[in-house]
């Protein structure tokens, strides 16, 4: 049984969580309520009057082919970012888990990108892939590949996926490495004696034992890709060319702040909020799940 120490008193605990509560109230609950309120209203073009329109904003939203396209685009973006960053991170973690000279150095280098600010990461990739001045971009054009992410939507999407995934590799790497190291060495040794080698051993022993980490990162990465990549995507191409890299988060900003359509933008935020809540619930379920031992 778990033993718990109970401290008497009510005032001190309340005081201790007060700062966090205030922050949550001011920066989350209040804007959230505001967003829900304005998602049910329509403002006239000059911002002088608002009227209550019920769920009309939502109906408009889901009737708008541009919005539906953005949902599909975001799903594609999230899927690719998650898959790419998890795949690369897992590969790197497996390599970093082996006994090699200077292993601490490699691990440190691999964790570094996590400390790079999102917009900075985007700029790095832009500088590399710029069609004229970018090292890789210019080279691609030299060898005859028509590379210009500012004109080609598919290329733009590929670039934002790369930049966003790269940012998340470090995070995934840390968790995968920790997960790999948590697998008892003797289990791997038992598998070696049983005759399991290479990829087969990885697939039948290591990966199943790593599944709790995989589930956890899957949710975390989806949340990251869907909601935390604004700076990266915006810094690369601000959603362009056209709307080819306009994800849902970007659309909220562009519609609400740039195009001043507060009602629609608020409705979009509410939709996103529901999405976050669902994903967070999933995340808590996996976090709360006990590791398989």
């Amino acid at each position: 049984m778990e033993r718990r120490t109970l401290f008497p008193g009510k005032l001190l605990p309340a005081l201790l969580i007060l700062p966090q509560l205030v922050l949550t109230l001011v920066f989350f609950l209040w804007p959230a309520v505001q967003a829900i309120k304005s998602s049910l209203e329509r403002e006239d073009a000059f911002g002088t009057s608002t009227e209550f329109v019920g769920l009309e904003n939502f109906a408009d939203l889901f009737g708008d082919p541009l919005y539906v396209a953005a949902i599909g685009r975001t799903a594609l973006f999230c899927g690719c970012v998650t898959l790419l960053s998890m795949g690369v991170a897992l590969g790197l973690a497996v390599l970093a888990d082996t006994e090699i000279r200077g292993r601490a150095f490699y691990r440190t280098m691999l964790i570094w990108p996590y400390a790079v600010a999102p917009a900075m990461a985007a700029v790095l990739w832009v500088l590399m892939f710029h069609p004229q001045i970018g090292l890789v971009g210019a080279w691609l054009n030299r060898i005859g590949i028509d590379w210009d992410y500012k004109l080609d939507g598919t290329q733009a999407m590929a670039l934002v996926i790369l930049a966003a995934a790269w940012k998340q590799i470090s995070y995934n790497f840390i968790f995968f490495l920790a997960g790999l190291q948590a697998i008892p060495k003797t289990i791997i040794e038992a598998a070696r004696i049983d005759g399991a080698r290479g990829f087969r051993r990885f697939r039948t022993i290591v990966l199943p034992l790593l599944m709790p980490t995989v589930y956890f990162l899957l949710v975390v990465d989806l949340v990251y890709a869907a909601f935390e990549t604004f700076a990266t995507v915006y810094a690369v191409n601000a959603g362009g060319p056209g709307q080819s890299t306009q994800t849902l988060v970007l659309k909220v900003y562009l519609d609400g702040i740039v195009n001043a359509n507060v009602g629609s933008s608020s409705a979009q935020s509410v939709v996103l909020m529901v999405g976050v809540i669902v994903l967070c619930a999933l995340q808590f379920r996996f976090l709360g799940r006990k590791a398989v031992t």
């Binding site: 008892p184 003797t186 289990i187 040794e189 399991a196 087969r200 398989v292």
Partner: protein
């Protein structure tokens, strides 16, 4: 044919030499127990034989075949680990079947082998369970089953009982012994527990600081320990070692000023040669006269008691004797003891080696 041969086996980790040359031959079907304190190199030796480590020098032959450079999977061995090392995500059946599946056996064949092993170990009812749903003893049994189904040339046991409670350990000890006798598979068993070592092994190898000190049957090791280390390590409580000098032309030893007669046998040592007089606590006899030892502590163990006594000069003696009806000696009271001549061991004080009578 020899089941296992080790030929000048050495292992260093960096500048640290863990194994300093081990030569060893196990007969086919023999169970050899390697025993020693932690850090003596016994686990490293086992891992070298398993192929989990590569030797710095020397050769390993299993059933006459040189396996020194082979991968663990190619050595035809099975190993039982201290923490069982069961695959947590697989059922008991899958745990046992895994090695066979990798070897590419057909389903029916696997089923037959696993069924045979599980009935041998009484695991039939547990085949669908996951390891976490099993008790320690059951897990131990599954680990054994996983080793048995493979029908290997050599079993390796790495302290397989040390995670079990005392009662279960005794039970599993007997079970392992019976199984090994029945299957007649050459086995190497590593432990730090001398009771396990004494009861399980056909022969024992006592290791000390990377060097094999004595290789002999359990009885031999108990009755004629090769040096003071083995004498102190095997037997509980440990053998008493008293500093003394050889006297009377090799027929007596003096400890402090008391002379102990060595009986009819004669040692080829000059008078005044520094020796240790070794006597096991259970062989020390209470006597009416003789050397006086002030009692320090008395431990009552139920049917018998341990008396710890210390001479004013600092020499200590432990005595094990049945509980006398009158109760044991009191603290500070001096007991007088005698050492039966045929129970006395003589060791050279400089080298620590056992000295046999001429």
């Amino acid at each position: 044919m020899a089941g296992l041969t080790l030929d000048g086996l050495r292992k260093s980790f960096g500048a640290n030499e863990i194994l300093k040359g081990v030569d060893l031959t196990l007969a086919d079907g023999e169970m050899l127990v390697i025993v020693g304190a932690s850090g003596c190199g016994k686990s490293t030796l086992l891992r070298l034989v398993a192929g989990l480590e590569t030797p710095t020098d020397g050769r390993i032959l299993i059933d006459g075949r040189d396996v020194t450079q082979l991968d663990p999977s190619a050595r035809d061995i099975a190993m039982v680990f201290q923490n069982y090392a069961l695959y947590p995500h697989m059922s008991v059946y899958e745990n046992m079947a895994y090695g066979l599946k990798i070897r590419g056996l057909r389903k029916a064949e696997i089923r037959a082998k696993v069924d045979a092993a599980s009935s041998l170990l009484g695991l039939e009812a547990l085949l669908d369970r996951k390891p976490r749903q099993l008790s320690g003893g059951q897990r131990q049994r599954v680990a054994m089953g996983r080793a048995i189904v493979r029908d290997p040339k050599l079993f390796l046991f790495d302290e397989p009982l040390s995670n079990l409670d005392a009662k279960l350990r005794v039970q599993m000890r007997g079970e392992i012994r019976r199984l090994q006798r029945r299957l007649k598979v050459t086995s190497l068993y590593v432990t730090h527990d001398q009771v396990e070592a004494m009861t399980l092994g056909d022969r024992l190898l006592v290791m000390h600081q990377g060097v094999p000190v004595q290789l002999a049957t359990p009885t031999e090791i108990f009755e004629r320990p090769a040096d003071t280390y083995v004498a102190g390590f095997i037997g509980s409580p440990a053998m008493n070692l008293l500093t003394g000098l050889m006297r009377r032309n090799g027929t007596a030893i003096t400890v402090e000023d008391t002379e102990f007669d060595l009986g009819p046998q004669r040692y080829a040592l000059p008078d005044g040669h520094p020796v240790f007089l070794g006597i096991r606590p259970e062989h020390v006899a209470l006597a009416a006269d003789g050397m006086a030892w002030p009692v320090e502590v008395v431990e009552l163990l139920g049917s018998e008691m341990l008396v710890h006594a210390t001479r004013p000069g600092g020499a200590t003696l432990t005595l094990r004797t049945p509980n006398p009806p009158s109760g044991g000696p009191g603290m500070g009271e001096a007991i007088r003891v005698a050492f039966p001549a045929d129970r006395i061991h003589v060791f050279d004080r400089a080298s620590g080696r056992r000295i046999e009578p001429a």
